[in-house]
Symmetry: C2
Subunit: 146 residues, 2 copies
DNA sequence: CTAAAACCTGACGTTGACGTCAGAGGCAAG
DNA sequence: CTTGCCTCTGACGTCAACGTCAGGTTTTAG
């Protein structure tokens, strides 16, 4: 198939596909006129590329690990790299989970009439830390050069 | 405290703090000479900002939602916004989990004796929790001081 | 008092993953 | 053959979250 169809099938832009090729993530056969042609399997590969991009991997890292993931072949270095990225993703999941739970807490408590929401575990909500912007508060002006 | 101390405490750069202020995420009192002064609570706020950045929220979105999380109040719109972001994070967690599982599968398969083309004998795969020390690698830096 | 360290405000630089535009050529249909 | 869509190769534009530098002021340590 040509690039337009692959783009439509995999849901990415034509530009992105050319960029992937430029980064060494996706190769194409060229017709005599120079047009790119892809096998059916390219769609899956693009999905995989998108997956790894979404996980925060850079083009270079993807280029390094993609052969391993596709061919399931690895050297000790690539296995170490895989493990590193896996752990990074794991940490990211944990952080996202904490963030989600915090947002959940806010959502649940935002309907309550009182202010007993404690998003700091065992610390009292300090009454006012002079942090609230008072409507008619004349802030100190920035006096540059007295 | 002044900006340098806040930066040290919260683990972000001075430039980042000034940027947060510019984006309306963090306000500071100014001394007569124009220097920023922050209350103790600013450190927590910075942590929260970092958390939301790490979850993929933009400055503008954080600016919209941060008052809800801090003041524990919300309008129907902000609740909807919170729910939207929560669901986005949830989807992101699901996608990351799938990606991690896929990497796990590759790691297991490539570690198997018969399926991996390990052309370098036996080496320890103890490359764990060690991030790639590439000099100019500007990936997602969350600067967790651990 | 003095020198170093910290802070200030612009303002331009960086990076990755593309978007977008220009100009030129290819491909099936009528 | 021409019309209209698709594709090609550069090459510049974009956007966010800062990094970095310059030139000047303020605070602090000795």
């Amino acid at each position: 198939m040509r690039i337009g169809e692959l783009a439509a099938r995999s849901g990415v832009s034509v530009r992105a596909l050319r960029y992937y090729e430029e980064q060494g993530l996706l190769d194409a056969y060229r017709s005599d006129s120079g047009q790119r042609h892809y096998p059916e399997s390219a769609a899956d590969r693009v999905q995989l590329i998108q997956m790894l991009y979404a996980a925060g991997l850079s083009s270079r890292t993807i280029a390094e690990l993609l052969p391993c993931v596709e061919a399931k072949v690895s050297t000790p270095e690539s296995r170490a790299r895989l493990a590193t990225e896996r752990n990074r993703i794991d940490a990211q999941i944990a952080a996202l989970t904490r963030t989600r739970d915090r947002l959940d807490a806010v959502i649940r408590l935002s309907g309550s009439p009182n202010s007993g929401c404690t998003w700091i575990p065992d610390q009292d909500v300090a009454a006012d830390e002079q942090d609230t912007p008072v409507p008619g508060d004349p802030r100190v002006r920035i006096t540059h050069k007295s």
